[in-house]
Symmetry: C2
Subunit: 342 residues, 2 copies
DNA sequence: CAAAGTTGTTTAATCGATTAAACGGTATAG
DNA sequence: CTATACCGTTTAATCGATTAAACAACTTTG
């Protein structure tokens, strides 16, 4: 790679010190600097097509204008859309985002955090994987600014922005019940992650509020690290073979819904006739299905923007933790057309 | 953020110079260094949890172990999957990838290139947008290592890795013809980008080889910056209202296919009964459609790995341009079940 | 035993910026 | 007419590493 133009080159060309060039190009001490020479410096910089070396700048200022984003699974459209929003939002403030995907693994998450710290990121936005409390505490101990997104740890007092998962699940199930369904089921992950646990609690409480007995058999939990597709298929088989037939399913994520829907369809079950379905997260793919899914749309833009805003504020100056729960939108489509009560 | 441990801190703790610490931790001059003191340095580094400041290292070595990846549209699963592969491949060699999306705009592309150059990336992998020949020439002039991916400019002799788009389209159309279709259409973009032009040429030549007259009305070109959805719908309306009914469509990209399929479905047209369909790029979404699409699968893994490999080799040492065309796989599903010739 | 070679470590320059402090020169004040 | 203030610019230290060269202190060698 060709050698780049440095402050020194400009200084030499104009015949001044590098300090002066730096002041001029950064608009510092403007009141003190001679207009004529400032002009010549600017012209020279232009002519040489000077571009400051950010590495050198970072070394001196101890700031890289880079933030680390660690998502749990970049292949999930939810996270890739979020990543894109965060990237755009950060770019507006001149920050670059470096991505990493923890693949829901705590070891990988820790490695990533360290790799990004090595690169001197100014802070992090993290969708924490299960059992990564230690990672979070590590960041707190080292005074590294960060914001958790999508998930958080109730016992750790730090910045986070998530969906109000409890309320969202509750709303969804009540909507199913209002539509005439009597036996809603849930397919979620078996995890300690609070966002998913809250979805389950929301499901349970919606039943309770409506005087419906919670049946363990109607609540299926998929292991994160299993083969998702076959686990979902097994779960659905079990649901369908219950003595008292079920009438509706809430999927706790788009991935679960995708596999579930394919399987349900392959079994010739009609939606919403035989089964009503709601899923968390957008499912554009189901636009091609004969019954596009009713879903719980997360406020991605707000999630991304708020988390970025909070992080950048914390980078500038340490602040008290901010904790935000946002509301989802229930987008009603064909998979939950009301069942006519006979 | 807390101050980090530097070489100086280790040197002070052990009572030696920073030079020695640097040599020990980088395993340089190992034959000259005292074993005992080397041990003490390593232990001290461990105790202080030392992590080298990559910024300082980069400034000195003029190498950041960072590559810039500029895709044309990160929301397209084709590019996001590719990005992920490149990221993984680069990580194996200790490189970090910084992403950017040009959104198919040449100005944005140029801005991105400069922003990444400011950050001293060691090289680029770029899926160039239309009319970005100047950007590419700029990189050549400045001796910046790079590899083009997915698209290239025939007149610029540089590294690139793409699909053999001509051959792929030709194969697809011949497959349609072999299945009994007589009047295949193509819906592509109106662009000068060679990858898409070659798809069109492949379509044309397949017809020619089979003694079928090329009909302008059966070839629809969508403007990149138009509303893709409505443009595709209009194109399909026009195709369907041709005096001589069409029997099959080749979509030049997954995005086009997605919108097209939704619209075709909404009009009650049966696939493959009324219309056979093939698309470029994987279309997982169509798994939920009653007739999953036959598609041309790009060798993403190879594309990503080869481009990364070529780039890293060029970063190490300037080499002669390498130009590679890869083959696609025709994945046959339900949207092209052969039409029975009466 | 002096010259030459080894060994283990330090010195100091360097990468490309930033920035407090210093420095001459001119203008203003007392 | 000296003292002080102000102006425009330079000096030099610094960020945290790397690395060629220098340097003592020994050990060999002829």
């Amino acid at each position: 790679m060709k050698k780049k133009v440095s402050l020194k080159d400009i200084a030499a060309k104009v015949g001044v010190s590098t300090a002066l060039v730096s002041y001029v190009l950064n608009n510092k001490k403007t009141d003190r600097i001679g207009k004529e020479i400032a002009g010549r410096i600017k012209i020279a910089a232009e002519e040489l097509n000077y571009r400051a070396n950010q590495i050198a700048k970072s070394l001196k200022t101890n700031k890289t204008f880079t933030i680390g984003l660690i998502v749990a699974d970049i292949s999930n459209p939810f996270f890739s859309a979020l990543a894109r929003i965060i990237e755009e939002e950060a770019a507006k403030k001149n920050y670059t985002v470096i991505f990493g995907s923890s693949e829901e693994q705590s070891e990988k998450s820790f490695k990533l955090i360290n790799a990004l710290l090595d690169r001197q990121v100014d802070g992090f936005i993290i969708a924490p994987a299960e059992n990564t409390e230690s990672n979070v505490n590590y960041l707190i101990q080292h005074d590294v600014p960060f914001v958790l997104i999508d998930r958080y740890f109730p016992l750790i007092d730090t910045n986070w922005v998530t969906l109000d998962n409890y309320k969202t699940a509750l709303t969804a199930v009540e909507y199913l019940l209002a539509g005439g369904n009597k036996r809603p089921c849930i397919i979620t992950y078996n995890t300690t992650l609070n966002n998913l646990r809250e979805r389950k609690t929301g499901y349970e409480n919606a039943l309770q509020k409506n005087n419906i007995q919670f049946e363990k058999d109607r609540c299926k939990e998929i292991l994160f690290d299993s083969n998702i597709k076959s686990s979902v298929e097994k779960a659905i088989d079990e649901l369908l073979s219950l003595p008292v037939p079920i009438d509706s399913i809430l999927f706790a994520s788009n991935i679960l819904a995708f596999h579930g829907l394919k399987y349900i369809h392959s079994k010739g079950i009609k939606i919403p006739g035989d089964l009503s379905i709601i899923t968390f997260d957008e499912m554009e793919a189901s636009d091609l299905f004969y019954a596009p899914l009713t879903y719980l749309e997360q406020p991605l833009l707000e999630l991304g923007r708020l988390s970025t805003k909070i992080l950048l504020e914390n980078i500038d100056k340490k602040k008290d933790p901010v904790q935000i729960k946002l509301d989802a939108t229930l987008v009603i489509r064909k998979s939950t057309l009301p069942v006519i009560v006979q």
